[in-house]
Amino acid sequence: MSLQYSSTGPHIHSQDSIARTMWSIAVALLPATVVSAWLFGPYALYLIFATAVASALIEMPLNGDGFSLRFPLGDGSAFIAGMILGLSLAPTSAWWVPIVGAALMVVVGKYVFGGLGNNIFNPALVARAILLLSWPYQITRWVSPLDGTTSATPLGGLEVGYLELFLGNVPGSLGETSVVALLLGAAFLIVRGLISWRVPLSVLGGAAVAAVLFGLDPLFTLLSGSIMFGAVFMATDMVTSPTGKTSHLVYGAGCGFLTVVIRRYTAYPEGITFAFLIMNGLAYLMDRLGADPIFGQVEERKRRVYRAALLVGAVALMALLTVAGFAGRAFVADRYVEAELERSIVAGYPTATRIVQATAYDPQVSIYRVYEDRQLLGYYARTRVNGYGGPMQITALLDEHDKLTSVVVGEHAETPTIGTQVRSGGFLEQFAGFGPDDRDGLLDEVEFITGATVSSRAVISGVERILAARDEDAAAPDEPDAALADLEDGVFEGSGRGYAGDIVVTVTVEGGRVSAIEIQSHSETPGIGDRAMDTMADRIIDAGSLAVDAVSGATGSSRGLSAAVEDALSGN
């Protein structure tokens, strides 16, 4: 029996085509485009459409369809990808960014792989990654919408409310700020059947789970940055995402999870670019390994459920083990470190009775104030520097006048014969007597160990760093005696300068210790400043000291409160 394949059906066809698909996506992008033009002004339109048009133009000679009827927009795929890339740019991007971005996208992202349908990585993200690495400044200078002042993004530390994030009145990329516009677009795409709801939903799910695991606010995580934009328009990119139902879920969850991991643990405040690119690379594998059981593979389906349950169980067990291990190790390590530290401080200041950790302005330096009763003996400081062979621990002891008494090189990895000489008394003695003010002279006056320039220089830089930290520490307002002990009982009033004005407090002292701090008046930001002050008051009471960490995100209010408490107790 011979079959002529070309005479087989189907002889009718849905009205869809590549072009229709692409232009529908353009429609879905419209709300975000309009909102970005409203928020960031007409230049936003230039950025978006310049990228789109440039992409289409650059593709023209490449797609081999140059002079057909569809000239010059082709099937619309380049135009759409361009719009998406444009919407992911910063509102202040230079005029050439759209054009360079479009070229990178079309050439490197798409045609290097063989054109539409063949690229492994989402072209818009490829372009974004290259831009981000090559011109970080130009593409990450954010401004506030409407007024245009330079500002951090919410992910970069700006404090904003959920509603603003939802509506989009926050700094960020052109298209990503307004969640409501993005949801409109998503609804359109899902209703038109162009994307499966599984992908965006699992991206958000994965991100939320990661946020909870890493102790972030899940709602903030979802509403801020490009996650929503990425979930709707980037993770769903047809060419570079898997096609199966199960693999859609796995892929989406992976995208969301990785994004949050990158946000949390790398120098990039926004993780979608690299997270999604990594997942793109895994898409094919997911379709291969995650192929859904064929209709009728009844046994296979049962096996999968069983295997999935096993996997979840195993992962949960592993997680449990890891957490237990971490906690145990941290517990042991903390105890060890504390004990070692105390031994070492007491060795330096034999009469010490009380050690208080000072607020570290340079996070790489830890400074401790050492007291004999209420009498300051001096400062004990530690830092780590990179020597010739690896990290080196530098410890410095200063007297109460901030002059170095001795410097010790702790754990190190210098070469045994020469580098190790930096530990010798002769070398280290040279540091005695230096203080924060004359630290600039160190390099000239300290003689290097011959043949161990790098090691010597490292020690000097460590000492310099410690002195610099002491300098700032000494200049800080809430100094010097932070310990609140042996106070006179009573109720005292004081004031301090906060972020937005004076803060007036009353401090109650009972049994020589602060028992209550009440805020009488202030003009700090409601919802942020006042909450921070309450937290600070609790911290001060708990620690019995003014040397507590400021509340992050509201440092001004925190410092102000400390100052007010100090003021109240100044006559004490």
């Binding site: 189907p10 054109g115 139902k245 209709f295 009728g296």
Partner: protein, 454 residues
């Protein structure tokens, strides 16, 4: 009546175009001049002619038979003279032996239709012994009339280890344009239920179902009303979704049972039969009428009088087009079967067989455009595939001659429904490639057997 049922995942909505013919009653059509009755209209081995050129035959007379288990007898569909026994090209491009009968004058062609005076039997009437039923069905030459053409008397043979508890009549008719089952359910409801009851009692099943998609309200009404007379039979409403007519999906929808891969419905205790087959069984068992005609739809936007016809087997396609008033435009294509799974042809001499469900004339605008652009991996083919396959990937394997990979991804589990091709925005002829893949897989298996005989 229970709610609307459907299979869980996959499938798509098609432009139905059934309104063209859903209201036109079945018209009786006599053979115009000659018929060419193929001697192979069933799965299995061809029949041998039992008449020879020059013989006079009358309608209903046996003209072909074979003692092979999987064949079904062939009867003359018109009275007249056998002029030749010769090979003709069939719709699948095979050349098949046909008995060509020159019709005698129209008056004595009248075939033994059901005598209006003999009432159709009801629920209270006895059904003959199973062996007797199978014998009468075999003598009438009945095959599955939905397309597969599996001999029905074989299907009614129950194996001991797989008892049957349910019978489903497949009235889903999910192909666009085609309305034969639709009309039959409306016009011959009683015979349909009688046929279902005969099947049910013959195989010892407890329940029988007539399943119909909700896009055929008149048929639904008819079968629902009729079901009230039959205590063990019921009507089932199906959601409109292609391909509900696929056997395994019908079973999933109606009974929520999943037929294991590469197995027959019997494995889950079910037999599925076509509407027309059930009616043919009633005719054969109760009225001793052999299967010589079938009802089919002639439709399409360029047909001047689209309609449903009862035609003698062997009628050339050309006669059907003429009977429907011919085309209104010159530019059209002829599809035999439904537009989803049917075959394109320009040979109007091809004869109607027992399993031809209709012919559709399609206008240029409706032609499936085979521009076959690149796959943009949109995944729509995957999401509509009722077998949960990845047609995009399988076809890529097929086109790169990677047959083993194609098999691994289930090319042989594809039911050739064409839903994937229908939705592909890149207009890739996926179904065509899937057919190629199946053929290549079959010849690869053949090759393996030859080299490594067990």
């Amino acid at each position: 009546m229970p709610g609307i049922k459907k299979f869980p995942i996959g499938g798509t909505h098609l432009p139905e175009n059934k309104d063209l013919t859903t209201d036109s009653p079945i018209k009786w059509l006599n053979a115009a001049q000659s018929v060419a009755i193929p001697l192979k209209q069933h799965l299995g081995v061809a029949c041998k002619a039992v008449v020879s050129a020059g013989d006079e035959v009358h309608v209903g007379q046996l003209i072909g038979a074979n003692s092979e288990g999987l064949s079904a007898r062939i009867h003359a569909s018109t009275s007249g003279t056998v002029t030749a026994i010769e090979k003709r090209v069939m719709i699948d491009h095979s050349a098949t032996e046909c008995v060509v009968i020159q019709c005698s004058n129209a008056a004595d062609q009248q075939e033994p239709g059901i005598d209006a005076a003999v009432p159709v039997k009801g629920p209270a009437d006895a059904v003959p012994e199973p062996d007797e039923v199978r014998k009468r069905v075999e003598e009438a030459g009945i095959v599955g009339m939905g397309g597969a053409a599996f001999p029905t008397h074989v299907k009614l043979q129950v194996k001991k280890d797989t008892p049957i508890d349910s019978i489903i009549i497949n009235g889903a008719e999910c192909e666009p344009y085609i309305t034969t089952d639709d009309r039959l359910m409306q016009e011959r409801t009683a015979e349909l239920y009688r046929g279902l009851d005969i099947i049910r009692q013959t195989v010892g099943a407890q329940r029988g179902y007539v399943a119909c998609e909700v896009n055929k309200p008149a048929a639904i009404k008819a079968i629902t009303e009729e079901a009230e007379r039959w205590p063990q039979l019921e009507a089932v409403r199906l959601d409109t979704r292609y391909p509900h007519g696929a056997e395994k999906h019908l079973i999933k929808a109606v009974l929520n049972r999943e037929v294991p891969i590469r197995q027959l419905p019997m494995a889950v205790g079910v037999i599925v039969n076509n509407v027309q087959t059930a009616i043919a069984i009633t005719e054969a068992v109760d009225h001793a009428i052999p299967l010589t005609r079938r009802v089919l739809t002639v439709s399409g936007s360029v047909v001047s009088q689209p309609g449903n016809f009862s035609v003698p087997v062997g009628t050339p396609l050309g006669d059907l087009v003429t009977a429907a008033g011919g085309p209104t435009e010159d530019d059209y294509r002829l599809v035999v079967g439904g537009p989803m799974t049917g075959m394109l042809t320009d040979d109007y001499g091809i004869p109607v067989t027992k399993s031809t469900s209709g012919i559709v004339l399609i206008r240029p605008g409706e032609y499936a455009d085979r521009s076959a652009e690149v796959c943009i991996r949109c995944g729509r083919c995957v999401s509509v595939c009722p077998m949960y396959l990845q047609p995009n990937r399988i076809t890529t394997f097929v086109r790169n001659e990677m047959i083993e990979e194609a098999e691994e991804f289930g090319v042989n589990d594809c039911i050739l429904c064409g839903a994937c091709s229908f939705v592909c925005p890149s207009r890739r002829p996926l179904l065509q490639w899937l057919r190629e893949g199946k053929a290549k897989s079959a010849s690869a298996a053949e090759e393996r057997r030859r080299r490594n005989p067990v």
